[in-house]
């Protein structure tokens, strides 16, 4: 039974990372109807930004994390201003399809830029703490604890922002009914820009956390992006608390399957769950079929 501790630690850690990646993806998807295929790339850029700030420029850790956040936010803003906004103006009725293709192009471009700048070989993320706390039966690595605490703190802060502030309320209102929000005087395009900045900032930090227990590589964000997509679909679009619960739940299931049946069965098990959930509940566990909302 002493093995259950490490499996849970691993499951909860990946769950926290999935949840953070999912939160950013779901925010944009739920409010703009935009599946941002470059969301994983924003994670990658965040990881590399922190690496550059800490290793190459020798900046202290908080500044390196801030750099990752800033890079994520700026690239998120650029994706809106240069890609999403013009596309939505030109052809609103096809936006949900064209934006997927367009952001996929953005992802490829940025990923290749990273490859060009940093090379393809994996790099070590300097923002990583060694050592572990000994909890009787097993060791809880500090890095895992930091990841889980940071992710929960960020999700909590995002939830407070969305529910307790006027700007957050305007984001939710716009997601639920853009026309009504306009009638209330909400500048909807500016709200969308804020959502992409917020999502990019979360992705930037998430990239730092992911790379701190793996390694930096140009495809760093691909796996969290894929998992975040799965979480959004299983939870139901736009339900943020549901997406977070789903992330933790499925990550723990994945860790258990990997431990009991072998590492290569983790992902097929996730996909099997997706299929079963969608057969029973096409709108997702927490979602409704007909509407997207936040």
């Amino acid at each position: 039974m002493e093995i259950i501790g490490p499996v849970l630690v691993s499951g909860i850690t990946t769950g926290a990372l999935y949840a953070l990646a999912t939160l950013g993806l779901s925010l944009v998807w739920g409010s703009l109807g935009m599946l941002n295929m470059a969301h994983g790339t924003l994670l990658t850029l965040g990881g590399y930004a922190a690496f550059t700030a800490a290793s190459q420029l020798g900046l202290p850790v908080p500044l390196a994390v801030l750099a990752a956040t800033a890079v994520g936010g700026v690239i998120g803003a650029l994706i809106f201003v240069l890609v999403a906004y013009p596309l939505s103006r030109r052809s609103p009725e096809t936006f949900e399809t064209t934006i997927m293709i367009a952001t996929f192009g953005v992802a490829l471009t940025l990923e290749n830029a990273v490859l060009r700048l940093y090379g393809g070989q994996p790099l070590g993320q300097p923002l990583s703490v060694g050592g572990a706390i000994n909890l009787g039966g097993f060791a809880l690595p500090w890095q895992n604890l930091i990841i889980v605490v940071s992710a929960i703190a960020l999700m909590g802060a995002t939830a407070l922002f969305l529910t307790r502030t006027k700007a957050g309320r305007a984001i939710r209102a716009t997601a639920q009914n853009p026309d009504a929000a306009k009638l209330m005087g909400v500048p909807v395009a500016r709200v969308y820009l804020q959502v992409l900045i917020l999502s990019g900032m979360l992705a930037g930090v998430c990239g730092v956390l992911v790379s701190s227990i793996t390694q930096l590589s140009p495809s760093l964000g691909a796996d969290p992006m894929l998992k975040a997509f799965i979480m959004c679909v299983v939870a139901g679009l736009g339900n943020l608390p549901g997406a977070i619960i789903t992330s933790f739940g499925l990550a723990i299931v994945e860790a258990l399957v990997q431990f009991l049946a072998g590492a290569r069965w983790g992902f097929p098990a996730l996909l099997a769950i997706v299929i079963l959930v969608l057969i029973r509940r096409p709108g997702g566990l927490f979602g409704r079929v007909e509407v997207r909302r936040l």
């Binding site: 009914n177 026309d179 005087g185």
Partner: protein, 242 residues
């Protein structure tokens, strides 16, 4: 209360608008004076909602102009029109379904950063619509049709505007609820509000309207006093064809 004034609050002049390749409104002109309740009636699908959507900027104006208190507002995006003082209580309410009643009302005061004024208006809304005070924390999607309509009107009242557009407040409601809603509208008129109301049923608005426009196929076919309209041939022709 409204100052007696000779200049109209809202003026629509030769408005042409529509969707895609088709014009729905083919030249609408109307004006609403301060404190007046002007009504546009006509069968469904003849452009009543389109008119209000064009005034509030949700739909682009193709020809003609719209001005509010002497300033041209046509051509501005909807959020700018709202900031200029047009309140639009849309058809089907368009509530923020996942938000509480209170949050919906506060969204109405989005443009107002004066907290004291917002709190005062919230009190006024709760006095006029006591049901909303009881339901403050309830999620909008779980309300009944009549309560939702009240949230829609209350949300509009939270805005600081000079003219209120109300789109078919009786839509989909039981007769007794419709009466309650029209009592609220009568009280809004009595308090001096300037209102442009759209309704399918002319008899419903005959009592409270100062003036009525009859809309048929994108243009006004008759305009005048409500008492006269109910005896006019145009009314039957519009609703029954002919």
């Amino acid at each position: 209360m409204v100052e007696p004034s000779n200049s109209p609050c809202l003026v629509v002049n030769g408005l042409v608008t529509g969707y895609d390749g088709r014009n729905v409104l083919t030249g609408i002109s109307l004006s609403v004076d301060p404190g007046e309740l002007v009504t546009v009636v006509g069968p469904n699908g003849h452009g009543k909602s389109t008119l209000l959507r064009a005034i509030s900027g949700l739909l682009p104006v193709r020809k003609g102009s719209i001005s509010l208190n002497g300033r041209v507002i046509s051509g501005q995006p909807a959020h700018r029109v709202a900031a200029n003082g047009v309140i639009h209580v849309p058809q089907g309410d368009l509530l923020f379904a996942g938000m509480s009643v209170l949050e919906n009302l506060l969204m109405g005061a989005y443009l107002d950063s004066d907290q004291a004024a917002v709190a005062r208006r919230l009190e006024e809304v709760f006095t006029l619509l006591p049901k909303l005070a009881e339901r403050q924390t309830q999620i909008a999607a779980s309300l009944s049709g009549g309560e939702r309509r009240m949230v829609g009107i209350g949300r509009g009242l939270m805005m600081n505007g000079s003219v209120m557009l109300i789109d078919e407040p009786s839509l989909g409601l039981a007769p007794i609820i419709i009466e309650q809603i029209y009592e609220v509208i009568a009280r809004l008129k009595a308090s001096g509000r300037t209102i442009l109301l759209v309704e399918e049923n002319p008899a419903r608005v005959a009592d409270i309207a100062d003036r009525i426009h009859l809309l048929d196929n994108g243009a006004f076919v008759w305009s005048g006093e409500p008492a006269v309209l109910l005896q006019r041939d145009e009314l039957l022709a519009t609703y029954l064809g002919g």
